[in-house]
Amino acid sequence: MLKVGFHRAGLAGYTGFKSSAYTEGALFYGEKLVDAKARESIEAQAKILVEPKKEGFCEPGST
């Protein structure tokens, strides 16, 4: 994401979704710069998830 020009870009957290033992759902966020300048004074909208929400999520095949 950074390579193509996004700012404040990256993995914001995991969704708790698992379709297999090898894959997991994740959230990614990025912003396109205003006037090619960093928007350091504007609070990023992405809410960084420190802990993935596990409660209530089920593995495939479980209830």
């Binding site: 994401m1 033992a21 894959t23 959230l27």
Partner: protein, 203 residues
């Protein structure tokens, strides 16, 4: 996943993905996914109940996302939104509710059957700020600086050229625009006997 695909592999993968999601459009999510979809998936991903209260059951049943891109931040009244790989249109319709009649949302999908299903899902809701059209993430049919927000849910993992798809998303965003993606990531290496197989893209 294997990085350097032959042209034949690209064709096989693209057709495999298109065929799978054509089946989903025709038969529903139960045919093709081993994980929770529909109402259970919506509840797990914490979509706001007030926004989907009037969604007809077929729209709810057709949800098969891997996350909730709206957990990354709100959409604002009047914004223009692009939903890449919109499928049956669930996230597109949620976005339409968020931006209101002064905003607009375009749902894009490479599977024509999904576009037809999305239009059918839109009809009973009477939302006039939504359109659906066919297209691909690696070649978005829109001018530069068109949208305030690009969303996507479980789609970029299916693109053959992820850098190109991200570059296109960046291009169509306005300055200051946001990209909000939910997608699948590999958290450990695939076993050697399955790694590198084209079927991994769409099974």
């Amino acid at each position: 996943m294997k990085q350097n695909l032959t042209e034949q592999e690209r064709v096989t993968i693209r057709e495999g993905i298109r065929e799978k999601y054509s089946r989903v459009a025709a038969s529903g999510t139960a045919c093709c996914f081993q994980y929770f979809t529909g109402e259970v998936g919506i509840r797990q991903q914490q979509y706001p109940p007030e926004l989907i209260r009037d969604f007809p059951q077929p729209i709810v049943d057709s949800f098969c996302g891997v996350g909730n891109p709206f957990n990354l931040g709100p959409l604002y009244t009047g914004e223009a939104v692009l939903a890449i790989g919109c499928g049956n249109g669930f996230d597109t319709l949620v976005a339409a509710k968020m931006v209101g009649p002064q905003g607009r949302v375009v749902g894009l999908d490479m599977t024509l059957e999904m576009i037809h299903q999305a239009r059918a899902n839109l009809a009973p809701l009477g939302l006039e700020n939504v359109t659906f059209q066919e297209g691909e993430a690696e070649a978005l049919p829109f001018p530069d600086n068109e949208f305030d927000v690009v969303i996507s849910n479980g789609v970029f993992n299916l693109t053959l050229d992820k850098e190109k798809a991200l570059r296109e998303a960046h291009r169509v965003l306005k300055a200051g625009g946001r990209l909000m993606l939910a997608d699948m990531v590999l958290v450990q290496d695939l076993p050697p006997e399955t790694a590198g197989k084209a079927e991994n893209w769409y099974q």
